[in-house]
Symmetry: C2
Subunit: 200 residues, 2 copies
């Protein structure tokens, strides 16, 4: 029993953060109360703003609070002609940190998973197909995770590209099979971009 219901509630709600168990939630709550109340208030405001105002870019589906994101709006990136397809927004971060890619992105927000009712529409492939028709991409790079689902999703999208006569490649080198793109170090990811192979 805590001395304060509000403290109890804070500890409980901190556990919605990944990797935070009961003991570290308690340590976080005490730390904020004892040493950093203004930090706690600022975090509350940042959370409220982010949860309520961040939506998805209407071009690439990445997180943004605007209609379109910074990357889609960048003229240099618009001119590159490259489109990289990833599963999650965090994957964009990982790729950006390698500094090897200067094109634009498309975020599936997942992968095909028919058993869970996640088909082409749920991962935005209607929007992707529109973009492939309307914009002149020189190459589509498929950077979904090297898992069974990620590979199946990449193959499905490769078919769409080939039907439209667009060059399509799959990043390949160095990513451990079954691994998550987001967790891979920058060097491995750079190699995996350089060693990409054309499909079809």
């Amino acid at each position: 029993m805590q001395s304060s219901p509000l403290l109890e509630s804070l500890i409980e709600h901190l556990r919605c953060l990944p990797g935070v168990g009961p003991k570290s939630a308690q340590r976080m709550a005490y730390h904020l109360l004892q040493r950093d109340r203004s930090g706690g208030m600022n975090l509350a405001r940042a959370l409220t703003d982010a949860m309520s105002k961040i939506g998805h870019c209407s071009h690439c589906r990445d997180f943004t609070e605007e209609e379109t994101c910074n990357i889609c709006n960048n003229p240099r990136r618009q001119n590159s002609g490259l489109l990289c397809v990833v599963e999650m927004p965090a994957d964009i971060q990982a790729i950006e940190q390698t500094g090897q890619f200067s094109g634009r992105y498309f975020v599936l927000m997942g992968h095909l998973s028919p058993l869970d009712g996640i088909g082409p529409k749920e991962i935005g492939l209607d929007l992707l197909q529109q973009r492939l028709q309307n914009e002149a991409f020189s190459e589509v790079i498929l950077a979904t995770n090297p898992t069974i689902e990620g590979d199946a999703t990449a193959n499905y999208i490769a078919e769409i590209c080939l039907q439209q006569g667009i060059k399509v490649s799959r990043i390949a080198h160095g990513i451990p099979v079954g691994g998550e793109l987001e967790m891979v170090d920058g060097t491995t990811l750079t190699h995996s971009f350089l060693g990409r192979r054309e499909l079809g």
Copy 2:
């Protein structure tokens, strides 16, 4: 560069939590945005309430949003005649989890540290002295940390108790020297209570 300034700000502010580096802050932010926005909103509310409404009990200085805390208000604990002095609110949690102590507490919110300007008044010893005069305690148990500062603080409070003719003891057994009370397992802490020795 993140695609969204609000996302960037959330990641930055998550780092005010102890043990959260740039990589785990990013993982937390993406997790909330992708999978648990209502959890994020609830956490924001719990943070705001806790940071703005939780103060200190006017009897024991533990955290509470009321004038006095649940433990001080408990008649069974009022009748026990025991008072346990600890450095921090988290220490109360650790002691409560042993189930070995049924008295009341006094929280110093630190320890004596003359070089940092933390004297008897800063750790509430004027309030403690008032309570020792006004309430009939049968024993004061000093459960400050077994560090140089914690020992010095315990010795200082022991003097006050002895001057007023109140039995005073120091928990001793099993706590590793230089350790933090909050981090000790329940069994060790139980032994340290049972093996306490009277001072003076």
